[in-house]
């Protein structure tokens, strides 16, 4: 039986919808379902999109969802299209001049391609383009809608989105001689971030990381001002929404924190030991797609089968943020439970001889068979994946490497330990050496200056290109040369006292349940401080301090629901985790999510310029449960370690060439 209807009804009853659900419903219901004319003979429609809007749509909906809303044909606006004059058309396009020209050529003249056109722009359109459309009286009579959809972001998770600025790291943190690309990139990013708030009808209080080098002796760099400029851009868009969007809130309803990759250069490269991160890091996945081989039918050759590890898979949804060790344990337990309970599985696994099967047993088996094949496929898939990951961990000596990584971060290991590791350990994967050195470069940047750094990298046998990656990490450090000298002196003092150099502090309140789970991204610290009002105003200023009514407003949720003491916190009854026994049922998962959200406080949005990590996404889910506020992570992109390293290579700097001259 299809669960989709009950899923929908489950959500329909909830008064609070998740970020992803809102995006999906806006596209399917507001845009596709509502595009009808009263006298329409045929309810089937054509949907016309451009390259970006196709991606936006596919991040939220499947083709069957679109077909269910009466769209029988999806077209690319730039390809030659067959005229279908008896059908209505829905245009979901970016508000560019080229798109408007294409639309006008479709619908103007004596023989338009379609009967009526319902036009939805993904973001704000300029007045002059609107005038161009209104000039054509023939087109006007054929317009069923002309609206700004204000949805130009890509939901990648129930609590995450990206703006698809894949080259942000290169354009914003690279060569300072030419800011044009950087400025354009920021403008696009700001516009897309703003459409998130338009879609959710939320008006944020905007905070951002302040530029660090504000003294007169040093010129402020463009990359230092990235969060500041982005915050201003978002703000401009929000001010326009206040006037143009009906029912857009006039006072603050949530919080937005804008930071960039410079706050944390370790999270993108350190090994993250959760199931989700391990899948994307160790298996050669393409996006969320995993390719595996299943035995062919009746002993034929093996077939390659593609599966998507996404929210529709309840096992994935439950285990993705769990430590790989825990996930492996759970999968084993689930398989055991499943075999003992499902009728078809019992018979399949020979718990009864066939001669003893009664009519009743046959009926139960037939009833359970569809569930059996569906669930055994899913369980087998995940058991296989977990097994593969564990094998890779063993074969590449990842536990020792991971331990050293975490020790470096927490100050329990030094450069000497790294040198020792390189000389004593054989067959370290090339990429892992690079990642280890990148962590070291982040914790102790002065170790990589001059000849010392060169020797260290030669010991690891890095290529010139890889050395470039390590050098380029300075572009994310956000520290000017003058401060480096101060840092060096400071470091020397500490060296004399032999104190630890740590990028993270151990947290007494958090118990380390599994090995190699000490690490946490900086964003976790920032978010906790934000919710306790302990985030420094100097380091993270606010564009719009909340108005006096902010705290006392009866229409907004409670501002701060956090417990006073983190250590003595008791878990409320409703928040206790449910038994995983029902984990097979996606309906159960959705009901769980829906009931949790009903008691949520105000939303928190955090946007990271230059790419986010899966560990950061995990933290947002974790803190959502802990703080009882939905935390949504946005970024220019979501990068796996390999992707981050590739992008870092692309950064070109003049400083590097200066170093070349010195050498």
């Amino acid at each position: 039986m299809s669960m989709s209807d009950s899923d929908s009804s489950s959500y329909a009853g909830a008064d609070y919808k998740s970020f992803k659900q809102i995006s999906r419903e806006r596209l399917l219901h507001e845009m596709l379902r509502s595009s009808k004319t009263g006298d329409s003979k045929s309810t089937w429609k054509v949907l016309i999109m451009d390259k970006l809007t196709v991606k936006i749509m596919s991040h939220s909906c499947k083709m069957t969802d679109i077909t269910d809303e009466g769209v029988s044909l999806v077209e690319d606006i730039y390809k030659r299209r067959q005229p279908l004059p008896t059908m209505d058309a829905i245009y979901f396009i970016q508000p560019t001049r080229e798109n408007v020209i294409m639309f006008l050529s479709d619908m103007s003249g004596r023989t338009p391609l379609y009967r009526k056109a319902f036009v939805f722009f993904s973001s704000a359109i300029s007045k002059e383009l609107v005038m161009d459309i209104k000039k054509d009286t023939k087109v006007l009579t054929r317009l069923g809608a002309l609206r700004e959809m204000n949805l130009e972001y890509f939901p990648i998770d129930s609590q995450g989105f990206i703006t698809n600025n894949e080259r942000a790291l290169e354009e914003l943190f690279g060569d300072e001689e030419n800011n044009h690309k950087g400025v354009t990139c920021l403008n696009v990013m700001a516009k897309r971030i703003a459409t998130v708030f338009a879609s959710l009808r939320e008006f944020p209080s905007v905070r951002f990381r302040a530029a660090k080098s504000l003294d007169a002796t040093t010129m402020t760099t463009f990359r230092d001002l990235i969060p500041t400029k982005l915050a201003a851009g978002v703000w401009d868009c929000l001010m326009k929404y206040k006037k143009s969007i009906p029912n857009f809130p006039q006072t603050e309803t949530c919080e937005l924190l804008i930071v960039d990759r410079s706050i944390d250069q370790i999270a993108p490269v350190i090994h993250e030991w959760t199931y989700d991160a391990m899948c994307h890091d160790l298996l050669n996945m393409e996006g969320n797609k995993y390719v595996h081989e299943v035995p062919g039918k009746s002993g034929g050759p093996a077939e390659r089968k593609e599966v998507l590890l996404e929210d529709h898979d309840p096992i994935w949804l439950e285990l993705r943020h769990a430590h790989i060790a825990y996930a492996s344990e759970q999968l084993h337990e689930k398989m055991t439970n499943f075999i003992s309970k499902n009728k078809a599985a019992q018979i399949q696994h020979g718990s009864k001889s066939s001669s003893e099967m009664s009519t009743r047993d046959i009926q139960k088996m037939v009833q359970a068979l569809p569930q059996y094949s569906e669930q055994i496929d899913k369980l087998s898939l995940h058991v296989e994946i977990a097994g593969k990951i564990n094998r890779i961990i063993r074969e590449s000596g990842l536990r020792e490497l991971g331990q050293l990584e975490q020790d470096l971060v927490f100050g329990d290991a030094t450069t000497k330990d790294v040198i020792k590791f390189f000389t004593m350990t054989e067959d370290i994967a090339h990429e892992n050496k690079l990642r280890l050195l990148m962590i070291l470069a982040s914790v102790c940047p002065e170790k990589f200056e001059g000849e010392k750094g060169q020797n260290l990298m030669r010991l690891a046998k890095l290529t010139e290109e890889d050395m470039n990656v390590v050098h380029n990490m300075r572009m994310l450090g956000g520290q000017p040369v003058t401060k480096k000298k101060l840092t060096t002196a400071f470091g020397l003092k500490f060296d004399i006292h032999k104190k630890k150099r740590a990028a993270r502090k151990d947290r007494p309140g958090e118990e380390e349940k599994w090995q190699l789970s000490r690490f946490y991204p900086i964003i976790e610290e920032l978010l906790e401080k934000l919710t306790k009002n302990e985030l420094s105003k100097e380091d993270y200023p606010c564009l719009n301090d909340p108005s006096p009514s902010y705290h006392g407003s009866p229409f907004s949720g409670p501002v701060n629901q956090n417990p006073h003491s983190m250590r003595s916190r008791r878990t409320p009854t409703w928040a206790r985790p449910r038994g995983s026994e029902d984990g097979y049922s996606s309906d159960s998962v959705l009901r769980h999510a829906s009931s949790d959200f009903r008691r949520m406080g105000q939303r928190i949005f955090v946007f990271i310029v230059g790419g986010a990590t899966r560990s950061e996404l995990r933290v947002c889910h974790k803190l959502t449960e802990k703080l009882k506020r939905e935390i949504i992570l946005g970024s220019s992109s979501l990068d796996d370690p390999a992707q981050f390293i590739t992008k870092l290579k692309m950064i070109t700097t003049h400083e590097l060439s200066l170093d070349d001259i010195q050498i």
């Binding site: 039986m1 089937w44 029988s72 279908l84 004059p85 008896t86 037939v366």
Partner: protein, 147 residues
């Protein structure tokens, strides 16, 4: 303009697509009918759980049998019609990959998927029916022994 548009529509290959969608519309009505019947069966099934008197049970059984027959008939009709659409799509003069062709394909796939979902419900209902008959026979046997 409307007259011209009408003439243009008649002259284009779109005419075939228009009749295609009319057929789809007819099938959508049959689907609605099927959903209604399945709902009735579900309700009757719930009702039968609360009934103890033989005459009432008999009446429910008769209604359910009638509805099950109707469901089977409708489902078979839908399956036949969808297969016809498939053949028609193949025979259709539109070039492969053209707008009309893709439109036909997407819509037909959507109808098939719907039927697949419905088929499972029908199977489940039939099994319930069968199970009920087994119980009846056993009760009858027990009564005979008592007498």
């Amino acid at each position: 303009g409307d007259v011209e548009l009408g003439e243009y529509a008649r002259n284009s290959g779109d005419l075939g697509l228009d009749s295609f969608f009319k057929k789809v519309q007819e099938l959508d009505k049959q689907y609605a009918k099927l959903d209604k019947l399945l709902k009735k069966l579900q309700d009757a099934h719930e009702e039968s759980k609360a009934v103890t008197k033989a005459p009432s049970m008999k009446a429910i059984k008769q209604r359910m049998e009638k509805d099950v027959d109707e469901v089977k008939k409708t489902a078979h009709y839908l399956k036949t019609k969808i297969e016809e659409l498939d053949k028609e799509n193949l025979a259709n003069g539109c070039g492969k990959g053209s707008g009309a062709d893709r439109s036909r394909t997407a819509t037909t796939i959507s109808l098939k998927k719907k039927l697949k979902d419905t088929e499972f419900q029908i199977l489940r209902e039939a099994i319930h029916q069968e199970y009920r008959e087994v119980v009846e026979r056993r009760v009858f046997t027990a009564c005979l022994l008592d007498n």
